[in-house]
Subunit: 180 residues, 2 copies
DNA sequence: AGTCTACATTCCACTCTTGACATGTCATTA
DNA sequence: TAATGACATGTCAAGAGTGGAATGTAGACT
């Protein structure tokens, strides 16, 4: 009740799991698959990370083991406390952390390469952006957009990815033109 | 010479430092300031991280203490080995790591909020993007673009930031329209 | 009956990153 | 001369994230 929880800024993985469980109960394995498909672009996570965090979340009562299945399968479900925590995370305006981009970081130092090599790097970026764009288009076609609550906002997140890749491609083309 | 260096994927901070030192020698303090200004958008780093990494880099011979100054100031300079490592990092096509974005992650779960609250979140994003854009515009005006090698590619990186923030603003406005 | 694939979890060792704490010096200016 | 602010470095604990190894079960197909 009156526990003093010194909530830190990070812990987005925790909230990603709560968010996915807010839709429907799922096992660690299910969640891993969901991360690989829907959340991969926003917040990639590995198997070991997910299972570790699930154990912690169950320990603090934000989720519970709702059912046990065939192969030692544990199906987790969100508790009321967990939903409250998820809402808190979404509403309480946590100043969002700066994103890191090693792609952009490299750009700063392209001056140590020859112009040809720099062009090569930008060409790679263009290809990468194209691939990202195409892969999202394929995802768009394969997903059933009449699904759950994730579908509305999942579609919005996907649009972000499309626009981002398009933007990056155009920028890289422009940048290539800037290098004599 | 024939050391077998099992280079891992990450360690971008290391290369960010090598990159900055490729321009001119600098102290930890100088580098901290450079991170705050030029590299802040691409790869934020804290003081403790920078000093720790500088010590490590000096230990492995990628940089050296070129001079000592007034207040225990140690001026580091890139060695030939360090330059080689920087070039290696830039050229050897390391598949770039996925970026994490808690901003985008939240979007997936806006369904647990009311439409009004979701609109509120998107409005925050619009404001954030505007602020980012304006702040980069101000940086653009304050920087001497006839400076060193960083200026050409620094300008290109800055353009990336401008386009990114503009894209995100437009996307958030579009997204707000998608929510009934 | 044997084999293969998908399902399913746990543990470990390591690096990266953050945020705070701790310490001290030089130059300016009030 | 005393205070202040910019300069300058170092250390530590804890959380976040990576990558791999180890283990085993259920179902489907041959």
């Amino acid at each position: 009740m009156s526990r003093v929880e010194c909530r830190l800024d990070g812990m987005s993985l925790r909230h990603a799991l709560l968010g996915l469980l807010s839709e429907r109960p799922a096992s660690g394995y299910d969640l891993l698959k969901l991360f690989e498909t829907s959340l991969a672009t926003a917040w990639p996570a590995t198997q070991s990370q997910i299972y570790t965090e699930l154990t912690k979340l169950a320990g603090t009562g934000l989720i519970t083991v709702a059912a046990e299945g065939p192969r030692g399968r544990k199906e987790y479900a969100l508790t009321d406390e967990g939903l409250a925590e998820l809402r808190h995370w979404l509403i309480e305006t946590k100043p969002q952390r700066n994103t890191r981009s090693d792609i952009l970081l490299r750009v700063f130092f392209l001056g140590v390469l020859t112009p040809e090599q720099a062009h090569g790097y930008l060409a790679e970026l263009i290809e990468l952006s194209d691939q990202g764009y195409q892969s999202l288009r394929r995802l768009e076609e394969s997903v059933d957009w009449d699904d759950g609550g994730l579908s509305v906002y999942g579609r919005i997140a996907l649009e972000y990815g499309l626009r981002f890749n398009a933007m990056r491609r155009e920028w890289a083309e422009w940048a290539a033109g800037q290098i004599t």
